[in-house]
């Protein structure tokens, strides 16, 4: 018997309350009783009962009204109506109001046992469903967004905040930082996650095809349009529309897009029927849209329409602590894919990766590791497997001072001459770093 379920018996007859509570206690359920609707509601507000059995005829508020009140408090509560043969019509009304089932009094012992067992199964199924949904949700969160840096954790926190809403999101980030992954994370944690995320790579679609791609077209709309075709707006009904590289769309399309974003209504190319679609927009760009607005390259009204919630993904060079985690992730990923035994990253290779600025961000790191797995042998990625081996293996300096000077220059360049961050990376304080800069006469590039 399911000992985790609680049952409330609501009946004005003491003998019925006693009989039923004893019956359910013998089955191992937690049981409480109430003599009228008022007492029942008080108990339901104070404690969550999984199943409530209600006699349809109660003094004061009747069982039908009590059922409706219980459903208003907690829709998941299973309500079973007990009725005499004469009031089956009322029981049917209760079912329409959301009651789970009804039994006619007096009922066969078997009937009540079956109803309660079915209700228990139903509760168990919804519990399993919820836990499955949670598992899917958490899997999505943890699996493909790698990083423990403050920067990436802040991005994930923003994802969490905005995911539950329906607001338009704009994701800024350099090429290769993983803007589409962040868009997917928002979508997969949103109430729209059970529908697909429809992606439009704006930069990859020719201007002439863009309209048909977004709005769809009717048969015969243009030469070669043999059949009608759904556009991305239509396909994203109930889902999320991800517009990647939004900065590349033409001024004409910007006007069209603004109109659709505001009304969620549009017409297929060559059609005259207005269609409606309920989609949420997430867009991404590697360009500064505000600068484009100032330069007259991007419509201001569209910019403000899109810029409801903004997420900035920091470039990889600003979160070097993620390089190790990402490298290890890609080593495992590609070694498994290529059926190779590579599992580790050598010390010198790891150091070289850590010192590299990665202008192509995570995508570049991924490609470097993939290449290293292809050409490498053994279980460890070596420095020689990485394309910048020659830079690291042939130093032009000889003395320790030379080495120190070059290292400080490299770190200062890496951190864009941010003295605090460079000092932290070098493991010295700011005063020491300033004195070294002075000592080696290192100059900031103009």
């Amino acid at each position: 018997m399911d000992n985790n379920l609680s049952i409330l018996v609501v009946d004005d007859e003491l003998s019925v309350r006693d009989s039923l509570s004893n019956w359910f206690l013998e089955d191992g359920y937690d049981v409480d009783t109430a003599e009228d609707a008022k007492v029942a509601l008080k108990k339901i507000e104070a404690f969550h009962f999984h199943i409530v059995l209600i006699d349809i005829k109660l003094p004061g508020m009747d069982g039908l009204e009590l059922n409706r009140r219980i459903k208003a408090i907690n829709e998941d509560t299973i309500v079973i109506i007990m009725t005499a043969f004469a009031s089956v019509d009322s029981a049917v009304q209760a079912l329409k109001d959301g009651a789970y089932d009804y039994v006619c009094k007096p009922f066969d012992p078997d009937a009540v046992t079956h109803i309660i067992r079915n209700a228990s199964k139903s509760i168990q199924l919804s519990r399993e469903n919820l836990s499955l949904q949670d598992r899917i949700k958490s899997l999505v969160n943890v699996e493909y967004i790698i990083g423990q840096s403050e920067g990436i954790l802040k991005v994930l926190e923003q994802v969490r905040i905005v995911a539950e809403t329906d607001s338009t999101v704009i994701i800024h980030g350099e090429s290769g930082t993983g803007k589409e992954l962040i868009a997917k994370a928002i979508h997969m944690n949103s109430p729209r996650r059970f529908f697909p995320m429809v992606t439009v790579h704006c930069g990859a679609i020719a201007e002439s095809l863009m309209e048909s791609e977004l709005f769809g077209h009717e048969r015969g709309a243009f030469t070669g349009a043999q059949y009608a075709r759904k556009g991305k707006f239509e396909m994203a009904d109930g889902a999320t529309l991800f517009l990647d590289e939004i900065s590349t769309i033409s001024m004409k399309m910007q006007i069209e897009l603004l109109r659709v974003l505001e009304s969620k209504r549009f017409t297929r190319v060559g059609g005259n029927r207005e269609l409606q679609s309920d989609f949420r927009v997430i867009c991404a760009t590697n360009r500064d849209l505000q600068t484009m607005v100032k330069a007259g390259e991007f419509r201001e009204d569209l910019y403000y329409r899109l810029n409801v919630f903004s997420i900035e993904i920091p470039p990889l060079r600003e979160r070097p602590e993620d390089i190790k985690l990402l490298s290890e992730h890609f080593v495992k990923l590609y070694a498994d894919q290529m059926n190779k035994g590579t599992r580790y990253i050598g010390k010198r290779a790891a150091k070289a990766l850590n010192n590299y600025a990665f202008p192509g961000n995570v995508r570049e790191l991924e490609n470097l590791i993939e290449r290293a797995i292809v050409i490498g042998t053994g279980d460890t990625v070596q420095l020689k497997d990485l394309p910048f081996e020659h830079q690291m293996s042939k130093p032009t300096w000889e003395s320790i001072q030379d080495m120190e000077q070059h290292h400080i220059e490299a770190i200062l360049t890496k951190y864009d001459w941010n003295i605090s961050r460079a000092a932290k990376a070098l493991g010295v304080d700011r005063v020491t770093l300033y004195s070294k800069i002075k000592k080696y006469k290192i100059e900031k590039p103009k």
């Binding site: 009989s19 007990m82 007096p106 009922f107 066969d108 012992p109």
Partner: protein, 176 residues
Amino acid sequence: MPLIRIIPLQFSSVSTMETMLSVLSNRFKMETRLSGQHLDLTPFFNPVRSQYNANEIIQKLLPLAGEDDKIVGVTDLDLFIPVLSYIFGQAYLGGSVALVSGHRLENRRYGLASDPQIFSDRIIKCIVHELGHTFGLKHCLKPGCVMVSTTYVEEMDQKSDMFCQTCQNELSMLTA
């Protein structure tokens, strides 16, 4: 010394009594006696349902039980509790009184030839089950255990008059 006392209340199958006493004494490790006490059940008859109200009979039997004693009323009459159309037996969890009816355990009620052995088996299982409740045992899901909940005689024939190991252990703990 706590006792189990069986009170026949308009119960005709006297031949089953000896086996009944022996099985109960064995299952509960308690002295079990036949009681000569009498209770008139006429006031508990419900003419609308043509049945006897088990809850009311139990209330009437309560004062007859000593502090640690258990009482089992056994009858041929058809029993009900207000919300159910019939019952084989009734007892309160951790209470001191159980009531069992042989009315619906008779093969004759199902169009079959009477079989005293089957009847005896069924009523003993029913008494052990209800007495189990008075000691605090709940329904069990292990097939064959006497504490399995049964609402049809066919189901009752599937189980034994023995406790499963889990129920036996629990009973030992509850009676220790």
